[in-house]
Symmetry: D2
Subunit: 427 residues, 4 copies
């Protein structure tokens, strides 16, 4: 029977995940779920106890354990989910606010915020991957949600050399679902020419039951609730003939997004601050010992279909036959004009314990331009981490399309270093 370990098990997302695991416990042949976190905080306790009640109430047939001991937690695990947030919400809020001082985007994955988030995350990720190698089952698979998920996938696969790994995001599955709804079919009937980095991806062909329906599809871009819409961006998508990941707004309407971020900071709070409020409300709900299911309010938290993506991937990595998921894996030739060793968000053929990329020809030049540049940023950031190198960090920031010029790069770095001095240093 399988054991699944959730690192960052104390997250308020956990009930969502538990809901999915309970539903598919049988087909996964699930024996145990272990919620692992760093401290036995009240939050962790509340979440873990709700999870326990959910499993018991549903007679799910698997054990729910929780704790902070890494060896116990990872021992013989078949699947490891990474969903921790390095530096917690405080770290994220810092990431969001700090770059605004220099008129730069602070979003947690895409802008300068993603940079400091990455530098906090990498040491932890390296430690946990090491622990997975030591204690988990020899063919354990890691599924990652920890942000910035794209850069972390690049780091784990190409730097740490851990290949049984998939970076996962809920945008691809939501996009597939949107098209399935639009064309009145199942997700498995939709095949997308989908490529890019996490939160920076393009779709230039939409096939439904093998027929090219791109013309009908690309005007129906996925519009997640938590990203405000923009007429400019939609018109650009239609003109380009491509479905655009909503996070591309940070690149194409930078000024607008910057103004939004500044307004939010001054008013209703940054996204991190809002999430903090929502989380506190959720935890109050969770603490109700009469609650045996995930509460409705969890949907507000964002992350629609998050658990579906994870649970279905685990299921398809555990069962016979060939399935398909859009995941962050090494390109290996699937997209012709992107380097073979780039970790990309692309179609993966999934079978038992295996993911292999599926070939889809060339990326559009506009996409290739950004992907090459941001992949270079990712690799320079990784190098900065590996060598604690301020020089490489400067190069990373200077090359990023949303980064500072030479005028501000040092002041920005100084501020980041001060705010994150518990987490990383650069010499």
């Amino acid at each position: 029977m399988k054991k699944i370990t959730v690192i960052g098990g104390g997250s308020t997302y956990t009930p969502e995940l538990m809901d999915g695991l309970i539903k598919h416990a049988g087909v996964i042949d699930l024996g145990e779920v272990y919620l692992l976190d760093i401290d036995k905080t009240d939050k962790f306790k509340i979440v873990a106890e709700l999870a326990t009640r959910m499993v018991e109430h549903a007679k799910a047939g698997f054990k729910l354990r929780w704790g902070t001991d890494v060896e116990n937690g990872l021992k013989d695990a078949d699947f490891v989910l990474q969903q921790y947030r390095p530096g917690l919400l405080e770290g994220r809020i810092n990431d969001e606010k700090l770059p605004l001082k220099f008129d730069l985007i602070g979003q947690e994955t895409t802008g300068m915020g993603g940079f400091s988030c990455a530098l906090r995350a990498m040491p932890m990720v390296a430690k946990y991957v090491e622990a997975v190698r030591k204690w988990a089952a020899p063919d354990a698979f890691i599924i990652n949600f920890t942000n910035p998920s794209g850069l972390i996938s690049e780091f784990v696969i190409n730097t740490l050399g851990f290949e049984r790994f998939a970076g996962l995001c809920n945008i691809p599955i939501n996009t597939l679902q949107t098209f399935a709804d639009t064309f009145n079919c199942e997700r498995k009937d939709v095949f997308l020419h989908y490529y890019g980095l996490n939160h920076m991806s393009w779709i230039d062909k939409v096939f439904v039951k093998g027929e090219d329906r791109t013309q009908e599809a690309f005007t129906k871009t996925y519009k997640p609730e938590n990203v405000p819409d923009s007429e400019l961006f939609e018109r650009f998508a239609i003109e380009s003939g491509m479905v655009l990941n909503p996070y591309l707004r940070y690149y194409y309407t930078t000024q607008t997004k910057l103004a939004e971020e500044k307004e939010a900071k001054a008013g209703k709070g940054t996204r991190g601050e809002q999430v903090k409020k929502i989380e506190n409300e959720l935890l109050e709900k969770y603490a109700d010992v009469g609650l045996y299911e995930k509460p409705k309010e969890l949907e507000q938290r964002g992350g629609s279909m998050y658990s579906t993506a994870a649970v279905e991937l685990i299921r398809d990595l555990s069962t016979s036959g060939t399935k398909e998921h859009i995941v962050n894996i090494r390109n290996n030739g699937a997209v012709e004009n992107l380097d073979r060793d780039y970790v990309l968000e692309i179609n993966g053929r999934v079978s038992e314990k295996m993911i292999r990329p599926v070939c889809i020809e060339k990326a559009h030049p506009l996409a290739k331009g950004l992907i090459d540049t941001v992949k270079l940023f990712e690799r320079l950031t990784i190098e900065a981490h590996l060598k604690n190198s301020r020089k490489k960090a400067r190069e990373a920031l200077l090359i990023h399309p949303l980064g500072p010029g030479l005028e501000d790069v040092d002041a920005l770095l100084d501020d980041m270093l001060e705010a994150n001095n518990k987490y990383f240093r650069l010499d």
Copy 2:
């Protein structure tokens, strides 16, 4: 409901195919099978009438029609199977015998025999592909068994630009079945790092349920009954750590194969001559109006699992979800160190009306060496056909590892041209 047209429907293989189609008629949603051939010979009549009896007897629920009119035959077809033999068995027997005069291999796909066979086949293939474009359903798929199947696949996909095409062979499916038997699982549980050209392929990794079982597997190479075994060849496979396509014997034990061919020619007859005898015996059986099923003797004909491969591919191109078949399609990056535009025999992810290659990293240098050279031969042969160019034909023969030197190339070409003057010319 689907219509399947079989070009070369008068083949003695047809009952084997009918057997498979009858079994899967429901899942394919089969409405009609049309057997198309060039002349209403006695042979065609016998085969078609047996096929009709089989369909009726099995209450298969689809129509069986047959005839020689290309428009009628292809009209609105959803799948077109090519299984005709250009120049019939007489052509093949010629191909086999003629090169022996120059101490060269005459096998119908691999040696110099494959060359003349290809030059006979291409004009017909071009004509039928044109007809498919004109009369068949707009998204009709062609599945090819016509030899030399690898070169024909290269020609149809890259020269004629017809992409809804798969070159099919029974060796991959037999290999998968052998491993499934060996490891006591289903074919879909086996994933092979399989690559090469048709009848010239290598397997360097065998995964069973996601686990690397190569060490156990490669000593258990597929051994088809109609290819005599050789200790030298097996030892080489084991030393190389690769499962070798049995037709690679022509490259690695050329002298032995040449001696065998000469001996056969002098004694029991070439393979073509033997097949001719078997066919005559089969047709006698087929003519028995009391026969409602494929006769046992058909197995002797070779082509084990031939209909299974075709019928399952048709099924998976007709139904929802993702499956996998080893087929001849364009590489598109799936094998890193082979040109992206080579048509190769590799893993294809199959879903409704679609095949996409699955990435598997690098070909072994020994394999790459031969693949590059023989692919060059294929392309020069295609160029010779397109331009009726003796110069290109000479280049093709000179570059082939089993071809003649400058001393014999012209005499060989002269003989081939004389023997095939009804089929092609070179200026």
Copy 3:
């Protein structure tokens, strides 16, 4: 004897060029120089008459002719120099001022100014290349100074398919001269790993007489007089271990350059406005019928060593043996990690009527990132020109690191179209 035609012969630079041609007339075997321009303006007359006096006074031994007839001008020319400015200085001044409204760089080659300059230039370039094909000698060579010189080189070589072409700039020759001075040797003793686009290039290795002197060299970056220095930029060069083209300041210290441009516009005038003033002063000097040589004041005009670069290239394309020049030509594999078909500013092996790239391994990732992106901008701009496509123009601007976001792109385009309605349109 050779004929050289100078398109844009009425430029105030012409006396500089004449000075060089007079010096090397013998080795070039020069028979005639033809100054070609569009109108017989007073300016053209003054320049041409000074040129005539210079040739006569020096007893240079070749004919000086001038006029506006393209056929006469190009008839049997062996070398064609393009040094015209599309839209004249008025066009340039417009290019410089207009983008400032949107807080964007207006420099004539690098920023948004380069974009409108390119759209004005391409139709003229296409017309002249056509005329060269028609009237000039069959193996005539075009040497280009017309801005934006990098994009024009890409356009002529890859779009118009005219391969006997070199884009020339005075920065490479000045850089070589700087190092020759520094290391007390001749320019031919210096070999640079020099690569990039025109006005966007890097040097990561400096060899002097075959010895690697990079460490000593890169701190001694070329500092042209007409580009203000900056401590930030120099420190970055030293940290990167690369000699940086001074125009890279537009990318790395965008805010500073933008502030400078705005200040200049408000005060001493844009560079174009300053040049206009200098030109007027120069023309007054030129008009002096007692002047037989280029006046000292010409140096202020910028373009140090401009004529040396052109004349030496013409000389080495006319004489036996192998020489070397840094020119804008097709990569063809010289720089490993840049596309083979990019036109780049790189080392060219020059012999009679021939230039071939010299291999120098990989571009630094930082350089590659910018080169790929700006080359994409160039190609989209060329596509916009070819199709009069506003859609492609938008894509070009959006991808440029110094371009606008979706918020301003249309307003910027509208302004450019209005200002340039005599020169181009986009639908």
Copy 4:
């Protein structure tokens, strides 16, 4: 002043080389030539004493020393020439005879003879390169004539990582001279699209003073005296539109060459046996103390222009300015469709202490096919040497177009191992 060390200084070629060095001593600034060999044999003594007399008689102004001490010989050398024959002529004669037993070509560089020669050579080459690193000047350059020169170049540059290296052959310089004579110009006026491996090269474009004269040139293939002509081969060259290296006869007219080798073995002796006779005659001449110049009879020995190639390369690596030589160096992108890391025989831009490849676009498919295959053979042979691996040796022989099949590969290897047991072993 420069020091040149000749490893294999006792060769009968040495007087030829001395003749060239004496002529160019001034421009090279030559201070000393050291003849280094393994034993103070009579032969070495005779050759060295003649060399001494030549230098003295010509008042060449440099020192001639000779001996067997590697440290003394290589100490502070600026150029090292490798011209030794591993296993001496006896080794070569063995190489030539042994493969004939299996109906395989025994030529010293191209066929199976090249294989055993390479396995004898590599240990010595590795030892001498190590010694050059230890004793010679830090930027010493190695120029190689030791056979098989192509494989040795691959080995030194890519395996040993010694980059200041050029593999040299007299065929390119003779080809250039032939064209210079044909077109009545100097060698430096001829530019060839020349590519391939040593003794396996093609020329598909001939430029004279920048003009494409290919049509006139390719019918005038270089015909060295010591390679018998053949109408078949010439016609093929003309049809292909390419100038073919005469050693390509071994690939294209294998049967004829094999018959020639067998006949020679039975009659006048193999090439090695003939050379042995010539050498003995030469040594008798050399021993004449009244001889102060290279004797006329040396020409019979083969190797026309051998010393010119070497001496001019040394000169151009010692003097200011850019020159060009066809040498064996790493491709680095110069030929588009051949791997960047292949060591090839191509155009090199030569300046002081530096060689860089010059780009020339694509190799013809026929050439590419053979180059890829024989380069794979080279690399497998190198691997066989590095690991003493019989398995890799088998793979090398099996992939070679002139190698055995599985039937003979082991017997051939056994014979080679026995004949060369003093030189190498394979386990």
